[in-house]
C-alpha cells in the first residue's frame, strides 16, 4: 500500500478504502444506500426493529408472511412457530417453509414477502 492510499484511508475511513480502494463520491453514496438497505432487510428478516425504525414495514412483513403460511401450509401454521402474532418473522418461519416447500420455493416466497420494502 503506497502513501497516497494510506492518506485516502485516513480521509475516508471506509472498509473499501482500508483495502486500498478509493471510490468517487456518487459510488460511495450508492454503497452506503445498499448497506443501509441490507441492514433494513436484515431487521425485517429477523423481525426485530431497530430503535426509531418505521413499524409499518414490520407489520406488512408479518401480514404477508401470515398470508403465505396460510396459503402454503395451513391457516393455523403460524401457531406452530410462535404463540404471539407479533413474533412472526421470516427467520423463525424459514425452517418450516424450507422443510415442506423446498429451498428454492422458500427463497422465492421470501422475495415476495420483502417485495418493495
Amino acid at each position: 500500500m503506497n502513501q497516497s492510499a494510506g492518506k485516502s484511508m485516513k480521509d475516508e475511513g471506509g472498509i473499501l478504502s482500508a483495502f486500498g480502494f478509493s471510490m468517487p463520491p456518487d459510488e460511495a453514496a450508492a454503497v452506503d444506500e445498499l448497506s443501509r438497505q441490507l441492514l433494513s432487510w436484515s431487521h425485517l428478516w429477523s423481525g426485530h426493529p431497530e430503535a426509531g425504525e418505521v413499524g409499518s414495514k414490520h407489520r406488512l412483513v408479518r401480514k404477508r408472511l401470515a398470508t403465505w403460511l396460510g396459503r402454503c401450509i395451513g391457516q393455523r401454521a403460524r401457531g406452530l412457530l410462535t404463540s404471539s402474532a407479533e413474533d412472526l418473522s421470516l427467520a423463525i418461519s424459514t425452517p418450516l417453509l424450507t422443510a415442506f416447500l423446498g429451498r428454492r420455493a422458500t427463497r422465492e416466497l421470501s422475495r415476495q414477502v420483502l417485495r418493495d420494502l
Binding site: R71, Q75, A99, F100, E108, Q112, R115
Partner: protein, 293 residues
C-alpha cells in the same frame, strides 16, 4: 383449488358419469355388456391416465427439493410408489386388452401364459410394492412433521381406531402364517402383504389427518389430506373386494363398489398436484407481478 387438481377431478367426474350411464343400463337390463366395456376400456384408460399424471407430478415435487433436503427422500419413495402403480396398471391392461381383443387370433399359447404371468407381476408391483413404497415415503413425512411439532397428540378416538387396525392386522398375520404352510406361489405370498401394508398406511393416515387438522387447510396440508382420502378409499375398495368374494354384497352393489378405485386413483394423483401448486405459488405470484408491471 389448483388448476391441475380441478382438471383431475373434472376428468374423474366425467368418467364416473359415463360409468353411471353404463351402470343404469345394467340395472335396467341386467346385462353386463356396457359395464364390461366401460371398465375394461375406459376404466383402464382412466387408471393409466391418473397413474401417469401422479407419477409425473410426484417426480416434479421431488425435483423441487435439493438432494440434501429431508423431503427429497420422502418424495423419492412417493414417486417410486406412483411409478409402481403405473407399471402395475400397464401390465394388467396388457393382459386385459389382450384377452378382450386378441383371444383366438394369437397363434402362441405361450404368449397368453406370459401375459398371465405379467399380470401377476403387475398385481404385485401395483399392489404391495406400491403400498410399501408409499408407507416408506409417508413415514419419512411423519418424521419431518414430528421434527417441526406439526403432529399433535392423538385423541381417544384415534387411539381406538389404531388399536382396531392393529388387531385386524395381527389377525391377518396369523392367517398368513397358516396359509404359508401350504407352500403357495411367491406372487400370492406378496399379495397377502397388501392387507398388513394397508393397515400400516391407515395408521399413518390417522396420524397425518391429525396433523392436517392441526395446521389447517393450506396447500401442503391438503396434499397430505389427499393421501389420507386415497388410503381410506383404497382400503374401502379392498374391503368391498373381500365382501364381494365372501358373498356379502349383491351383484348390483358389487358392480357399484368397483367405482371406488377411480376415486382412489384421482385422490392419489391430486396429492402431488397440491404439493406442486404450493411449491410453484411464490414464483407464479412473481410472474403475475411482473406482468402487471
Amino acid at each position: 383449488m389448483p388448476r391441475f387438481v380441478q382438471w383431475i377431478w373434472r376428468v374423474c367426474a366425467i368418467h364416473v358419469m359415463l360409468g353411471m350411464a353404463a351402470y343404469l343400463y345394467y340395472l335396467m337390463t341386467d346385462s353386463y355388456r356396457y359395464l364390461i366395456w366401460y371398465f375394461w376400456i375406459e376404466g383402464t384408460l382412466f387408471l393409466l391416465l391418473m397413474t401417469a399424471a401422479e407419477s409425473f407430478l410426484a417426480l416434479q415435487c421431488r425435483a423441487g427439493f435439493d438432494a440434501d433436503e429431508p423431503m427429497r427422500l420422502a418424495w423419492t419413495f412417493i414417486a417410486l410408489s406412483s411409478f409402481s402403480r403405473f407399471a402395475g396398471a400397464v401390465l394388467m391392461a396388457a393382459k386385459g386388452w389382450h384377452f378382450t381383443w386378441i383371444t383366438g387370433q394369437t397363434s402362441s399359447a405361450l404368449a397368453l401364459i406370459s401375459l398371465e404371468r405379467l399380470a401377476r407381476i403387475g398385481d404385485v408391483v401395483g399392489g404391495p410394492l406400491a403400498l410399501a413404497l408409499l408407507a416408506a415415503g409417508l413415514s419419512r413425512v411423519l418424521k419431518i412433521q414430528r421434527m417441526f411439532n406439526v403432529l399433535s397428540r392423538l385423541t381417544r378416538m384415534d387411539r381406538l381406531l389404531i388399536g382396531l387396525i392393529v388387531a385386524f392386522t395381527l389377525g391377518q398375520v396369523v392367517n398368513i402364517a397358516q396359509y404359508i404352510a401350504h407352500r403357495p406361489q411367491l406372487s400370492t405370498v406378496f399379495l397377502w402383504l397388501s392387507d398388513p401394508l394397508l393397515a400400516l398406511l391407515l395408521i399413518e393416515a390417522v396420524l397425518i389427518r391429525r396433523s392436517v387438522i392441526r395446521v389447517g387447510f393450506g396447500l401442503i396440508s391438503q396434499c397430505w389430506g389427499m393421501y389420507v382420502i386415497a388410503i381410506v378409499t383404497t382400503s374401502a375398495g379392498d374391503a368391498s373386494l373381500w365382501a364381494a368374494n365372501a358373498g356379502l354384497l349383491s351383484a348390483p352393489m358389487t358392480a357399484l363398489s368397483w367405482y371406488i378405485w377411480f376415486f382412489a386413483s384421482a385422490a392419489f394423483a391430486s396429492a402431488p398436484a397440491y404439493q406442486l401448486a404450493a411449491m410453484s405459488l411464490p414464483s407464479a405470484e412473481e410472474s403475475a407481478a411482473r406482468t402487471r408491471v
